[in-house]
Every structure is written in C-alpha cells, then in structure tokens.
Assembly symmetry: C2
Homo-oligomer: 404 residues x 2
DNA sequence: CATAATAGTTAATTAAATAAATTTATAAAG
DNA sequence: CTTTATAAATTTATTTAATTAACTATTATG
C-alpha cells in the first residue's frame, strides 16, 4: 500500500528523454544531434525537439561546427556550463570550505569560513549565510546565475528535510540548514553527510569516473564511507550505510570512542595513529617525531606522524604502514559485503596516502577471497581537500541534470 | 559510451503500466479496476485497456463481485495463479531440493533429488534434467502450464549466462546449467547463488515482506548472504556482495578455510561450532553431546550440538549462545555497512535459531552505533528448508511480473 | 421510486514518439 | 564547374497510448 509506483505517462517519457539527452551532452559532449540520435536510438526529430527546448532554456548551446564525415557538417552541442553556478560547502570541525563551480564542476571561486568555538546552531547558520552572501555579492560572478546550494555536513543528516540531526564535533542537534538557507536565498538547498558528498564529488569529477558501484572512504578523525550503488548514493534504512568506522575487525582490539572494542576507527583513525605513536615513543623508541614535538608526546597527532614519514622517519613510515594494513582489513570486509568496483580513499589521513597504500594493498591481496575481489581498484582521492565541497555542488547538479 | 540508456517510448510507457497493474493485483489483489485506477493514479480507461489485455493473456481473471460501496458492484480481479507453474531447485551439497509453485509461490509439488558422490558436470545436469522431466510428466499438473525453471546453486554463479562458475562442494567448474536446460525444456531458465535465492524467496513469500533493503543470511556450513537493495538482488561488481562469511571480525581469531584468520565463518559456521564443541569436550567438560555421539568426538557436528541444546544441554546452549554473539558481530558490521531494514537468518544452522537469537540480539544491542541501528529487525526464515528452492521460483516470477 | 454514488465503457482529444519525405550543406567524383 | 552521394537537420504525416469527458450500468439509501 505504501509503495510508490511511477506510472508511465507522456510527461515521464518526455522527461526521461530530456534527461538522457542532457546527460549525454554533459558526459560525452560536444555532440551533434545526429550523434545523440544514434547513441540513444531516439529518432532525429525527437532529438531536435528536445534540443530546441534545452537551448531555449539555456541549458545547452550550439558551439562550433564539427568536421564533415562526407556530408553536411554537424552542429555541435555543449552544456552551457557557465550560465549557472552552484555553491558547495563542506562543514568540517574547525572551518567551512566553500567553493563555487559551474555545471562542469569547474572551480570558479572558493573561500574558507571560520567556525566559532563551541558554536550554537544559530551561529552555524549565520556563518553559512554570511559566507554565501559574500560569495554571491562579491561581484566576481553574476549573482543571478547562482542556482543552488549544497552542504556536506559531518555527522548524521536528515537529507529529506535538510537537517543536521547530530553534529558530534559541535555537540549540536537538529540544525535546520535547508529551511533557513532556502528562506534566505530562495534557491534549492540540499544537505548531505560529508563522506557521501566526498564520494559524490569523486564520482562525478574525480577518480570515481564511470564506476557505478563505488565506495568513497573518508579517513580522518573518524572513518566514514559514502556508498554509491547503481550510480546513486545509498543511505540504507537509517542513514547508517557506510559507517565503516565502527565495523569490528578485532574483537580483542583497543577501545573505541563508541564504547566497543576493535572498531576499524579505533585502529586506523587519526587519533588511533597518534595514540599508537605516543605509546611506543613512551617505551623509548627513537623517531624524528620527538624533535617535531619537542619531546612533548601529548602533542603528537596524525599530521605530525605524516610529516615525519615524509621526512623519511622509519618509525613513522612503519606506523602508517601498519595503519594501512588495518585499513586494508576494513576495506576487505567492504569488498566482501558490497563488492564495489572501486574504493576511493580520501579525507585528512589520505594525505599520507602514499604511506598507507602499501599496507592496504598488501592486506587486500592476502585477505581477498577471489582474484576479482583482490582486483578491486583502490585509488586515492583526486579532488583532495575539496572533494567534499565539490561533491556538495554535485547534490545540486544531480537535481539539475535529472529531470526538470 | 558503455552506459545503457533506457529511452522513453510508447512501448516503455505501456510496459511500465502493465507491470504496475499486474504487480498491484498480485500484491494487493483481489482488486477492482476502480481500485487500481485510484492507487496508481492511472485513468479508468487506461486501466481497463490493460486489464483487458491481461485477461486475454490469461494472466489475470475476473473473480467474484465485491461488495457495493453505494453503487455498482466492483468486479474483482485476481492473478490467474494456477494457470502457470514454475520449477525451483536448490542444489545443495548432498541433494537437490525441487519445488513447484504457482504464481503466488504456493507449493504445488516437491521432490528430493539425490546427487551422486563426486559428481561430474554431466551428472549434475542429468540429475537436474531427470528430476524436471519426472516432475513435469508425472501427471500431477498439466505439463503445458510450466513456464520456467529457477536454480539456486551454492558457490559462484554467472547469472548472466546461467553458469555455475565454481561449486566448491563438488569441486566443479563452469557447469552450463542454463544452456543445457533451456535446450532440453524450451522455457526460461535462470541460475543464481543459493544465498541469494533464499533471500529472494523470503522477500517475496517469507518474512522479508515489504522491506526494500533486506539481507538474508544463510548460516550453514559456510555463511553467505543475499543483499537486496531497492527491492532487487545486488551482486556487486564481481558477485562477491554478501560474502560475509569471510568478513574479518577477529584479527587474532581461528584460521578459516580461506586461509585467513578470524573470518566470521571460522567462528560461527557449522564446522566452527562442532570444532569448538569437540575442543572443549576434550578438555573434559560434561555434556549430553557425549552420549549422542557415544563419546566419539570426531562425530560431533552442528546438528548434534543443536539436538543436544534442544534436549536442554547447558553446554550446547551456551555454545550456541556464544555462536550467536559472533554472528551478532557479523550482523552489526553488516548494519554499519549496508544498514538494511531487516536481516533474515536462514540456512541449516538457523534451525537452532531460538538458541542463536539471544546472542545475536545481545550483541547488536551492545555494539549498534545508534538507536536506529539497534532496531534493525533480525528475524528467522519463514520458509525454512524450502526458502532457497522457492526463491529459485521467484527468479522466474520476477521476470514474469516485470514487463512482458 | 427517485437520487446519489460507484464501476466501468465508449468516444474524442492530446502528448509525444516514430516514420517518411524534404531541405540543407558538404565532399568527392567526373 | 557540375553532378552525385551522403550526412545533418527539419518538416510533415502517422501512430501509440494516455487522458478527458461523456455516458451506461448497477446498487444503496432515503
């Protein structure tokens, strides 16, 4: 009774074809009408009609003439990429990362927004609103071309209503982001978890290209993943899909912040790395880290271990190698549960990707069940620090390119 | 370039609506044309036209007149369930379980087929063919009403081509089941992994009802799962999705048949239970099991532990309780990765469900990350031993009820 | 028995794809 | 140069199948 049926109708037929054509131009353009007809198996008049509408709506433009293949030259079509701009914001623990992209995900502007210490919900909303106002009105880009705002937010998000249900690093509940921003700016606003926006960003404009089944793993303070199935983000029943930081890999492992023992995060998250480093250093091991923190071991964190490793510190390199092995176990579990085509490693810790990758690959090779499993592609993030903010833009692009 | 676009067309529109109506009658029937129009928001003439076709094709029949609600009595429509029969076969380690169902998944006939020891591919095919011939021609049911054959096969299956790529308990590779059976019987044949057919069976006719995101866990000799996402089986990139038997939950756990340490299967599979029982009994623990196997500890297997537990043996009950806790860790990992609405426990070991459930629930309660996660429904299989064979029938039903 | 309400059908209309024919533009052949 | 073949795109006519509106059939209710 509760199931939603999408019935066939003229409207649906039209909107499917419009969406197919628009996306085909986006992904494979520039293309001629004839090309589109050939690839989609739609007839030329159908393509021409829809293209006419898309041009009128200024979503698509005719560009150059292509080379003739023995007859009339084709008129090539392209997305009118710079006719529309999107704001994407990644709300992190200490700051917000704001970017502006066009329809091709190309970076047009960016800014960093400071978050006050122990912010209230209102302060978070205010920071967002001020940052957005400044970006739109600074004059770099025509204000009327902004069409939507996407937010990548750490913690638990109610995507339907655009509410941050729980933001652990602020200790805040129920921030009504979508409602407030839509009222203020009168454009589409979408809110999503940041591991998911990161994955979305990589999927559209990063290293995820073409993989329909894809997992993006955000390794930072915590470990979270965005799961894409059949080319769309998958949330699961209660938005818990991809909470792989709290997958148990070692029943007798160290205690996690969640109260359990042996969670992946408790072995491979940023704080876990720092803790293991400090512990071993206390036992007297020698390492460059000592110099970097002036022997104040409480100052050790993930970034410092990475810095030391970069400078060739054997102790740190081995530490990250071991972390990679732990991560590898988590990823192997992922492969044996979801079996994605590709896994993308992003987030803060992934800066140390070079040092982690070896351990990850080793473990997957040894623990993978079949050859195919072992061949799962593990790749680093391409968009790096901006993956999540760019992915937030994709929240709007998805909407733009889906139906209308 | 490689993406397949489904373009909107009149054919698609029609087939969508036909499928919606057919499925609505199946799931919610008996229904009147007017009911269907109301629920689907299709107009009465559209519904009438399609229903006319469905009646002509003998997929649907008009049954009784419903009660008037203040006007003309509705003519109720039902699936012509017994006009079509489907054969489903679950190919296990020692025998095949064959069932015949109608379009409602109601059992019409069943049989057990013996598998020779160390069978060849040809012998497997022969056994299948003989069993099917016998079933069709025995006279219980009109032979011309059989429309398809579904096979649930343990091991790794190439579903596209209907080939059993690897059947570990036979040691066989590349059994071309679909090809051989289609040639012999000239009807649709579909082959799928048995954990997946089990899940499919529960989803349509068992305890999975209405959950779009569902995992069925087959706990037996090994542990495998069928993953349903958005109401459809999910295979992953290389059919490894759901191979949760080889998810690592204890880095320092016992060795698994796959060569790694601490796989779920090595802690909670049938042989693992038997091994733990034998080991502790060797240390001198007292248990009813001793009597059941005449003190020949090498005869202990999962079934015997279950038998003892049923008879109130404290040792066995505790053993299964512990097994449940291990399973619970595996399922919690599943929840934190896929977050299904429901998890169905089936397979051989699930006969001992009552003894496992407590441990499973305990663990999920203690290890679940959020309230919602902890509330994931864990339910036992409803179809029991026949789940996989009935699910094999669903492979054909899916096809029947999808488009045409 | 009249009336209102529900079920279902028939006829007319409409949206949008498809098919066929035509126009436009270009390269290559003679 | 002109002709011819061919590709690109548009125009016109046709077809599919949903929708709208009008109508018939049936039944409960007052």
């Amino acid at each position: 009774m509760n199931k939603k049926y999408t019935r066939g109708s003229f409207k649906l037929m039209k909107s499917m074809n419009r969406s197919i054509i628009l996306n085909m131009i986006r992904e494979q353009g520039p293309l001629s009408r004839a090309d589109i007809a050939k690839y989609t198996r739609l007839t030329p008049p159908t393509v021409s009609n829809i293209v006419k509408e898309l041009i009128e709506a200024e979503f698509v433009i005719e560009t150059t003439q292509g080379a003739s293949k023995g007859g009339r030259k084709p008129t090539l079509l392209e997305i009118n990429a710079d006719h529309f701009y999107i704001i994407g914001i990644d709300v992190g623990r200490y700051k917000m990362n704001l970017v502006v992209t066009n329809l091709f995900g190309q970076l047009k502007d960016s800014a960093e927004l400071e978050i006050k210490e122990n912010p209230t919900s209102e302060e978070i909303i205010n920071t967002l609103q001020q940052g957005i106002h400044q970006t739109i009105e600074c004059g770099n880009l025509p204000p009327d071309k902004f069409i939507g705002i996407g937010i990548g937010m750490h913690g638990i998000v109610d995507t339907t209503n655009g509410i941050s249900l729980f933001a652990p690093s602020f200790g805040l509940h129920n921030i009504p982001i979508k409602e407030k921003l839509e009222k203020e700016f009168n454009m589409i606003v979408k809110v999503e978890n940041d591991a998911r926006t990161m994955t979305l960003g990589e999927s559209w404009f990063g290293n995820g290209n073409e993989a329909d089944n894809l997992v993006g793993v955000n390794v930072g303070h915590g470990i979270g993943a965005g799961v894409m199935i059949n080319g769309r983000l998958f949330h699961g029943e209660n938005s818990l899909a991809g909470e792989i930081g709290h997958v148990t890999i070692d029943l007798s492992g160290p205690k996690c912040t969640c109260g359990n023992y042996g969670c992946l995060q408790a072995l491979a998250g940023g704080p876990a790395i720092a803790e293991r480093a400090a512990k071993e250093l206390k036992l007297g091991k020698s390492s460059l880290i000592r110099e970097l923190v002036d022997d104040q071991l409480e100052r050790v964190d993930g970034a410092i271990v990475y810095e030391a490793a970069k400078q060739g510190d054997v102790f740190s390199i081995e530490l990250l190698h071991q972390t990679g092995r732990y991560l590898g176990v988590g990823l192997t579990n992922l492969i044996h549960t979801l079996n994605p085509k590709k896994i993308i490693i992003g987030g803060g810790v992934s800066k140390a990707g070079q040092f982690l990758m070896k351990g990850i690959e080793e473990t997957i090779m040894s623990r993978g069940l079949t050859d195919q499993g072992r061949e799962t592609l593990i790749v680093p993030s391409k968009l790096g620090e901006q993956a999540s903010a760019i992915g937030a833009c994709v929240l709007i692009l998805e909407e733009f390119f889906s139906q209308k």
